[in-house]
């Protein structure tokens, strides 16, 4: 900001200098024949340059003001040179406040204090403030933190962490002047760091989570009791049967890529659920599946999932452990290896399901070039356009999470899908209601509905 403002100022100065000096240094002499035409033109030019110069000067002043506001170092220097600080004696800080840090796991106190009387941003003789802490069971104080006085702060705040939870701590602030004199502030009352047991600012999230869980479990219960649930068709998932069948007919393997993310990514979990269903189908068709892995934790899981699927399908002898393998955990090396597998093994179908990043297009385009049926699914919004372009079917966003239930046709899982859909409708209605009420609040120029915004706001750990 400072440097940008500075550059701006110098650039404007150059413009100003150029325009002012131009007539002096080198404007060509105007001939008499052209004077009649040139005069109004020159007059116009002069008027323009004068107005531009005025505007530029005004901007220089404004920019100068900005610099003063934004750059503490530059602003302090002139003030210092204009009025050297008197060597005033140090005065004690009067408003030391020590409180437990809210919404934390304990062990932290939040200390705030203002400047000593007479101190103005460290320009009137105060050099620094020292925060002294008395630990429980110790008689003496020790320095916990030092604050330079020359900061653009009216109050200093510090979170003193790594303290004993439940133990009292006492603090005081010592003002140290430039001349070496010091002044001790009064000690704070004992403060005890405590741990909190609930993020009160996340109450709305908790209510929403409880409602969501209730909906899902309610619909699962209904499905278990035999209630018929209709789920819309998803073309990409219907095509998995077709793709596996094609591979079997052609005698080629199916290539299943479970994304390149870690096991902690829900998209990877969803992909593993789909892999289980796909592997069962492949086992029944007595076909072959290739699963190259990028993550070393995902690798043994995919191996186990495919093995169990072959066992469940009744064809354990067809399971080939060498077909489920770890490649590398490097993104583009993995992409290169999988592209090589596509070109050499020529799979009949490529299933790219999970989390993908920049390698998505490399994989999908290579797959398209070998003529395989390609079904891709991801919740990575940035990669979806690539899959839509290069693949035959694309499973978009939430469909990836519905895939396992959709393919397996387990009524319990279908129940959870229905619950999710109903909850989504409620979310949409709430969003529309919130937008309408907030808009009404803006239109009425009052704040009768701003509490709705607060109610719906999701807050992080810091509150």
């Amino acid at each position: 900001m400072v440097s940008r403002a500075g550059k701006h100022v110098s650039a404007v100065n150059h413009q100003v200098e150029g325009r002012v000096e131009q007539p002096k240094t080198g404007s060509p002499p105007v001939s008499r024949r052209t004077t009649g035409l040139a005069f109004p033109f020159l007059a116009l030019l002069l008027t323009l340059s004068a107005s531009l110069t005025a505007a530029a000067l005004f901007r220089v002043r404004t920019a100068g003001a900005d610099v003063t506001q934004d750059a503490p170092d530059q602003s302090v220097a002139p003030a210092e040179s204009a009025a050297q600080p008197e060597p005033t004696p140090a005065r004690p800080v009067l408003d030391l406040v020590v409180r437990d840090k809210p919404l934390d796991a304990g062990g932290t106190l939040r200390i705030t204090f203002g400047r000593a009387p007479g101190d103005s941003l460290g320009l009137t003789g105060v050099a620094r403030y020292e925060l002294w802490r008395q630990a429980p069971g110790v008689d003496s104080f020790a320095v916990a933190r030092t604050f330079t006085a020359r900061q653009r702060l009216d109050r200093f705040t510090y979170d003193d962490s790594r303290l004993w939870t439940g133990q009292p701590y006492v603090y005081r602030v010592r003002t140290v002047a430039a001349d070496g004199s010091t002044a001790e502030g009064a000690a704070s009352p004992p403060a005890v760091p405590t741990r909190q047991w609930f993020y009160t600012n996340k109450l709305n999230t908790l209510v929403a989570v409880i409602a969501f869980v209730a909906f899902i479990l309610g619909f699962v219960h209904a499905a278990r009791r035999g209630r018929e649930l209709k789920i819309r068709r998803i073309a990409g998932l219907d095509a998995i049967d077709e793709a596996v069948g094609r591979c079997t007919e052609m005698g080629r393997p199916t290539l299943y890529i479970p994304g390149i993310s870690t096991i902690s990514d829900v998209a990877t979990i969803a992909s593993l659920n789909i892999l289980s269903e796909v592997a069962k189908k492949i086992a029944r068709y007595q076909a072959r599946i290739l699963v190259p892995n990028r993550d070393p934790i995902v690798y043994p899981v995919t191996q186990d999932v495919v093995k169990e699927a072959f066992v469940t399908a009744g064809y354990p002898h067809n399971y080939r452990p060498e077909d489920i393998y770890f490649v590398t955990n490097d993104q583009f090396t993995y992409a290169a290896a999988v592209c090589g597998t596509m070109v050499r093994e020529k799979p009949g179908a490529n299933l790219l399901l999970g989390m993908f990043y920049a390698e998505s297009l490399v994989l999908a385009e290579t797959g398209a070039s070998i003529g395989a049926i390609q079904i891709a699914g991801t919740d990575a919004i940035t990669q979806l356009p690539f899959f839509v372009t290069a693949c035959d079917y694309t499973i978009i966003g939430e469909e990836l999470y519905a895939a396992s239930a959709y393919i397996g046709r387990d009524p319990t899982l279908l129940g959870s899908l229905k619950g999710q859909d109903v909850y989504k409708m409620i979310c949409i209605v709430m969003i529309l209601l919130g937008v309408a009420l907030m808009t009404a609040g803006v239109l009425t120029r009052g704040e009768p509905f701003t509490w709705i915004g607060d109610l719906l706001r999701v807050r992080g750990t810091g509150g």
């Binding site: 919404l103 934390d104 796991a105 741990r195 909190q196 047991w197 609930f198 993020y199 996340k202 969501f212 869980v213 479990l217 902690s264 829900v266 998209a267 593993l272 289980s276 070393p296 934790i297 690798y299 043994p300 899981v301 186990d304 999932v305 169990e308 699927a309 066992v311 060498e322 393998y325 590398t328 490097d330 993104q331 583009f332 090396t333 992409a335 090589g340 050499r344 920049a358 390698e359 297009l361 490399v362 385009e365 919740d379 979806l384 372009t389 290069a390 966003g397 939430e398 990836l400 999470y401 396992s404 397996g408 387990d410 899982l413 959870s416 899908l417 619950g419 999710q420 949409i428 750990t461």
Partner: protein, 211 residues
């Protein structure tokens, strides 16, 4: 039965803890500690991954089967094994610091190869864009027009025909709305999948959906 129940129990306890800690500040230190466990699991799994790589490529290089023939792509496997061995030895013998053989091999071979793969994206993008922008339907035409406006808007630093503004509007309004709609579904889908896994409704990852 135990083979299914014990993983389900572990999953339930771990999943419930992770959900609960989000609302309880006092659990934060335990959450951090559990996250550290992932590093330990990762370290062990790397050994598994390495074993997989060695096993797979060694099998390809070896003469196997009744005809004692190598895999048709055995030469690539040999290269992979040679690379793995050289890098491992270089790392163990000389370390991985600046100027070591490991670092030089990494900078001279692996980085350019990775950069090459990444650079291929440009060509794939051109090919994909060509297919996406073929005007075969009304939807494709709208897509083409929007893409052209956004591309010109990115190039144009002036205000030719107000294209940068139009480009910004397309990105900030229709595009953002569609993104958020997908994200809403994704968020609920993630939460639903997590819930199903935690409470044991979804057990496909165990290989079977039924006990």
């Amino acid at each position: 039965m135990m083979k299914t129940r014990i993983p389900l129990l572990i999953c339930f306890v771990a999943g419930t803890f992770m959900a609960v800690q989000y609302f309880i500040p006092a659990f934060l230190p335990y959450y951090d500690r559990v996250n550290d466990y992932i590093q330990i699991v990762y370290a062990f799994s790397i050994v598994l991954g390495l074993a997989s790589v060695i096993q797979r490529h060694t099998h390809r290089v070896q003469r196997r089967g009744p005809e004692k023939r190598r895999h048709k792509d055995w030469i690539y496997s040999l290269c992979a094994l040679a690379g793995l061995t050289v890098m491992l030895l270089a790392g163990f013998i000389e370390g991985r610091g600046e100027g070591t053989l490991f670092q030089n091999l990494f900078n001279a071979i692996l980085l350019p190869v990775q950069a090459t793969m990444f650079a291929l994206l440009a060509f794939y993008l051109a090919s994909a864009a060509f297919r996406a922008f073929r005007t075969r339907s009304v939807d494709a035409t709208v897509l083409l027009l929007a893409a052209v406006v956004v591309m010109i808007g990115r190039l144009d630093d002036g205000a030719t025909l107000g294209i940068p503004k139009l480009s910004r509007w397309i990105l900030d309004n229709p595009n953002l709305v569609a993104k958020r709609a997908i994200l809403l579904g994704v968020g609920l889908g993630m939460a639903s999948t997590a819930l199903k896994v935690v409470v044991g409704i979804e057990r496909s990852y165990l290989g079977s959906s039924k006990e």
